[in-house]
């Protein structure tokens, strides 16, 4: 199977690999998996005033999963949470020219963004609750 140059580029030089401290209140962590192939993907966002200022990822999976998550971290940076929630997997498919059998990799990346934002929002709620009750 032929892979697009963009996939190979992200695979060879993945952007934003790494992790933030999970306990940081500014950080949201999304951990998702694809039962189709056993890939696991962790995507983290760092948020300031509802805006994503930084993002990191770590993916154990195929080149397309790595490229999808690498691209996702690039795209969410600088976006508001609502803007990031609007990112669709089809945009990732288009950008990376993913073949049909690799579409689930882009779905995984979209799910990871959503999971990270959900985690961040949940943490904000609980931390404001604990401040209120203190």
């Amino acid at each position: 199977m032929a892979y697009s140059e963009k996939v190979i580029d992200h695979y060879n030089e993945p952007r934003n690999v790494g992790s933030f401290a999970k306990s940081d209140d500014q950080v949201g962590t999304g951990l998702v998996g694809a039962p189709e192939c056993g890939d696991v993907m962790k995507l983290q966002i760092k948020v300031e005033n509802e805006k994503i200022v930084d993002a990191k990822f770590k993916t154990f999976g195929c080149g397309s999963a790595i490229a999808s998550s690498s691209l996702a971290t690039e795209w969410v940076k600088g976006k508001t949470l609502d803007e990031a929630l609007a990112i669709q997997n089809t945009e990732i498919v288009e950008e990376l020219s993913l073949p049909p059998v690799k579409i689930h990799c882009s779905v995984l990346a979209e799910d990871a963004i959503k999971a990270a934002i959900q985690d961040y929002r949940k943490r904000q709620e609980t931390s404001s609750e604990s401040t209120a009750s203190a």
Partner: protein
């Protein structure tokens, strides 16, 4: 029980009538179990399944329809393909379990991506551990991990196979389906870990 569209006698296989030797076009849609005249159950006698497969393959083979009408020849090709898919699926213990989940799906909601609580976190942590071992080329530790994962995979497979064999109902309840689906999902992640242990480098496949 399905009946022959020509002679109306009961069918053993939904692909072909043994009584009047006619191909059954409805067989293109029926489930893989009824292709072999079996109820949708996990415990399958593989020896008799293989026998049925060879017998049916011989009856349906497009070579025997070389002088038949175009429609019949096409049908024999379609039914032969269906037979092969059914055989490939049912003779494999994991694929058979997955197929059953699909059969039940119409009656009971499935949990396609469900995993046991904390499982994904554990898989991620194990992948990180493996990455370090692969980078350090610690063959001994990798071999130990490989043996651990293999044991875990065998236990998991044995467990869900046992549950499926002991199942009494034709259509199990949601809780049962959820349990099986979780294990089938977990199986893929374990297979992935195993693959990674035995790969000689930390390079992943594109």
């Amino acid at each position: 029980m399905p009946f022959c569209s020509h002679c109306q006698k009961p069918l053993q296989s939904t692909l072909w009538c043994g009584a009047c030797q006619q191909l059954q076009s409805s067989g293109l849609q029926t489930d893989y179990f009824s292709v072999f005249g079996l109820p949708p159950r996990y415990d399958v006698d593989l020896k008799s399944l293989e026998r049925s497969y060879h017998e049916l393959a011989a009856e349906l083979h497009p070579d025997f329809f070389a002088t038949a009408t175009v429609a019949e020849r096409r049908l024999s090709e379609g039914l032969s393909a269906r037979l092969n898919q059914a055989w490939q699926t049912l003779q494999n213990s994991t694929a058979r379990a997955q197929y059953l989940m699909g059969v039940w799906k119409s009656k009971t909601p499935t949990h396609e991506r469900d995993l046991p609580t904390g499982f994904l976190q554990e898989m991620f942590a194990l992948q990180e551990e493996l990455e370090e071992l692969l980078e350090a080329k610690d063959q001994q530790a990798l071999a130990t991990k490989h043996a651990d994962f293999l044991q875990r995979l065998n236990d998991l497979q044995h467990n869900y196979q046992q549950q499926l064999i002991e199942l009494k109902e034709n259509t199990p309840d949601t809780t049962f389906c959820k349990q099986i689906q979780q294990q089938l999902n977990a199986e893929r992640y374990l297979l992935r870990l195993l693959e990674r242990c035995s790969s000689t480098s930390s390079e992943t496949d594109l």
